[in-house]
């Protein structure tokens, strides 16, 4: 009965009900869209991080020949790899990559870049996740057909670039670039490498990483073939990364390896700390994938913070709108409230009637808002709209607008805003319920 009255009152509210409903629908839709965008960035980050920069669990470390010189390498890799593989539940694959840092110099440009030394035979998943770029992607007037073969990375002194890097260096397939770096003893060294493939960008991370054959990195830095930069473990459930990391850590410590305390930062942030420590030899450093990209978490934090702020401001405005609308409803319907109270309706039922009205409005509006935003998001995702500005592409870690819809978040948004509408109506509803019947009838008369 109360529900029927509430719905009738909503219908009678006319323009006021529609405006409030539209506002609620818009804010819900905005929240769902922003959350989906944040999920999309997170998804891109995980994809880029676990494709390019890190495994789900990583075993890296530092080797110090003197207390002051530290190199980000793992010596005597084979037994460490075996221990890790035997103690990582849910392991799907294990690979290792060399790491380096060099200045890449072409005839027309130069840039500093991280180097990944890879073994093509182990990197099926990497090359499955990357797509070859057309020349038109990185050269004005370039050819549209897809050329280049990342599998040629098995050839000595070859390099695979990403489109943004090829554009910056002004190179195309077959061109040579010089990599200039220092060996672990600090001597200058160079290597000339041939561009064998240019891949499509994979967000910000692909702007500073080059792929090289392992042997090229070994030669460049004068390393032993049984050394590596990082052993990367991939799991069937990424959520298990912290637990698996701890398990592998215990196993390595039991085997007598020295493992550094967990420091949730990428390896390149640890040079300063390690260089300042007074030890020599090998220490291992275990991290999860999100530790290795923690320097980028500010992007998600910033987007989430802006979203929260925006939605909160809008929510406060809407709360004021709901309270105001309910006050108007109470004023307009004082005679009705008085009559209902006079014929025996309890204060509690009057309160419930007004709250049902706000709750119903909230539920219908937020459901419509969430539904429309999901439809919009799915449309945008299907359209794969390209982001025209490089800086935004870098921040969003994708060349196209990428959204990921979470049903749980949609449900929480609908329930949350419905409750919010209900709560905003409490005070006007309480005031309506407390009106003495005589006063209410007299006031309207």
């Amino acid at each position: 009965m109360l529900g029927v009255i509430a719905f009738r009152n909503l219908r009678q509210g006319g323009k006021r009900t529609y405006l409030l409903g539209i506002a609620l629908a818009l804010v819900t839709g905005l929240l769902v869209t922003l959350m989906s965008l944040s999920n999309g960035i997170n998804d891109s980050l995980v994809r880029a991080a676990t494709t390019l920069a890190a495994g789900h669990v990583n075993i890296a470390g530092f080797y110090k020949s003197t207390p002051k010189e530290s190199a980000p390498i793992v010596t005597d890799m084979a037994p460490i790899k075996a221990i890790a593989a035997a103690n990582a539940p849910g392991l799907t694959r294990v690979i290792d990559r060399h790491r380096g840092w060099a200045k890449a110099i072409s005839d027309t440009g130069s840039m500093f870049a991280g180097l990944y030394g890879v073994d093509v035979a182990d990197e099926g998943a990497l090359f499955a996740a990357l797509q070859v770029a057309s020349e038109a992607d990185y050269q004005d007037g370039g050819r549209a057909e897809l050329r280049g073969d990342p599998n040629r990375l098995g050839e000595p002194n070859s390099v695979v670039l990403f489109a943004a890097q090829a554009r910056r260096l002004g190179v195309t397939l077959g061109d040579r670039i010089t990599l200039r770096t220092e060996t672990l003893r600090g001597m200058s060294n160079t290597v000339d490498v041939e561009v064998v493939a240019v891949m499509q960008n994979l967000g910000m991370m692909s702007s500073w990483n080059l792929l090289l054959p392992k042997q090229t990195i070994l030669d460049l830095y004068g390393l032993d073939p049984n050394s590596t930069g990082a052993i990367m473990l991939y799991l069937d459930d990424i959520e298990q990364s912290p637990a698996v990391m701890e398990q592998v850590r215990s196993a390595l410590e039991e085997e007598g390896y020295t493992v550094m305390d967990h420091d949730p930062r990428p390896f390149f942030s640890k040079f300063e700390v390690v260089s300042g420590q007074d030890w020599t030899g090998q220490q291992l450093d275990l991290t999860t994938w999100d530790d290795e990209v923690s320097f980028m978490s500010w992007i998600l934090t910033a987007i989430d913070s802006v979203s929260f702020l925006l939605v909160m401001v809008l929510a406060i405005i809407i709360a004021i709108g709901i309270m105001n609308a309910m006050w108007i409803a109470v004023r307009e319907r004082t005679r009705e409230v008085g009559t209902l109270r006079a014929i025996g309706m309890s204060q509690r039922r009057v309160l419930a009637m007004f709250m049902i009205e706000a709750t119903a409005l909230g539920f219908i509006a937020t459901t419509i808002g969430a539904g429309l935003s999901v439809a919009l998001i799915l449309g945008l995702e299907a359209a794969a709209i390209e982001i025209p500005v490089d800086a935004i592409r870098a921040i969003l870690m994708s060349d196209t607008l990428h959204f990921v819809v979470s049903p749980t978040q949609i449900l929480l948004s609908v329930v949350g805003f419905t409750l919010f509408a209900a709560i905003a109506s409490i005070w006007p509803a309480v005031r309506a319920a407390r009106l003495p019947p005589i006063t209410a009838i007299q006031r309207t008369e």
Partner: protein, 255 residues
């Protein structure tokens, strides 16, 4: 004085006769090192100018402080204003950089490029060629109008240097280095350095003259358009304050 006599004898003999012996070549390096060594302190004003492909030219005014006896060195940036107070401090085998804009010290490799230019710490430091390299004689040649000895130096085992192979062209008449070429481990030519003018100042502590290049022209051979010019002025060999080579002193310069 002993080194100068030896060098004069060597130069006279090599200009008239066959290639110098390994001992003579080593002596050439010792002389170059000895001439630039000062047993006391060293201070000089250095202007460093960097031209880089696709970028505007940058110039720095710096002061170089050295105390060779204890292997200490400092480079303090005075200009431009944005770099004022920044500095490198070498203590033993550690090179630190201080950035006053963030108030933080960072440890850097000894081969650090100074201010991002093609110049390196070693270009401003005491010459240690004989200590770090094994020389071999490549022959006599001409460098413009100058008759020169051409030497190839290879880094000694276990010594940390930026360039494992260095070629030197030494003026037969004066014994000064006129040109150097630095090669990478791969053999690739990395830098060509010219020393067009040398100056000398009498050092009370050494009791002899100390040589220094008035200008250094560094050409990047990998990024061909990049080059660095260094001009050294106001070389002062008087004793410096005891507390100069400390982090606190360098930090105080930006306050």
């Amino acid at each position: 004085m002993k080194h100068l006599l030896l060098l004069t004898t060597l130069l006279l003999s090599t200009s008239a006769n066959a290639a110098p012996s390994q001992t003579d070549v080593l002596e050439m390096l010792n002389t170059i090192d000895e001439r630039q060594r000062n047993s006391g302190d060293y201070k000089a004003l250095a202007y460093i100018e960097q031209k880089e492909r696709g970028k505007e030219m940058t110039a720095f005014e710096t002061v170089i402080y050295r105390r060779d006896a204890t292997d200490k060195m400092m480079i303090l940036f005075l200009r431009p204003k944005s770099e004022a107070g920044k500095g490198y401090l070498r203590l033993d085998k550690n090179l630190f950089i201080f950035d006053p804009s963030v108030g933080k010290w960072e440890r850097r490799t000894e081969r650090e490029r100074i201010g991002g230019t093609d110049s390196r710490r070693a270009d401003f430091d005491q010459s240690r060629l004989a200590e770090q390299y094994t020389p071999s004689y490549k022959g006599e040649s001409k460098l413009g109008k100058f008759a020169v000895h051409h030497l190839e130096l290879k880094a000694k085992e276990g010594v940390d240097v930026a360039f494992p192979v260095v070629e030197l062209w030494i003026d037969q008449k004066t014994g000064n280095v006129l040109k150097a070429q630095d090669r990478a481990l791969s053999g690739r030519l990395m830098r060509t350095v010219y020393y067009p003018k040398w100056r000398k100042v009498f050092s009370e502590s050494k009791g002899a003259e100390v040589y220094f290049p008035k200008a250094i022209h560094i050409f990047d051979e990998v990024e061909k358009e990049n080059q660095t010019q260094v001009v050294l002025q106001k070389v002062d060999l008087n004793p410096l304050a005891e507390n100069i080579f400390t982090k606190a002193w360098l930090e105080s310069q930006s306050r």
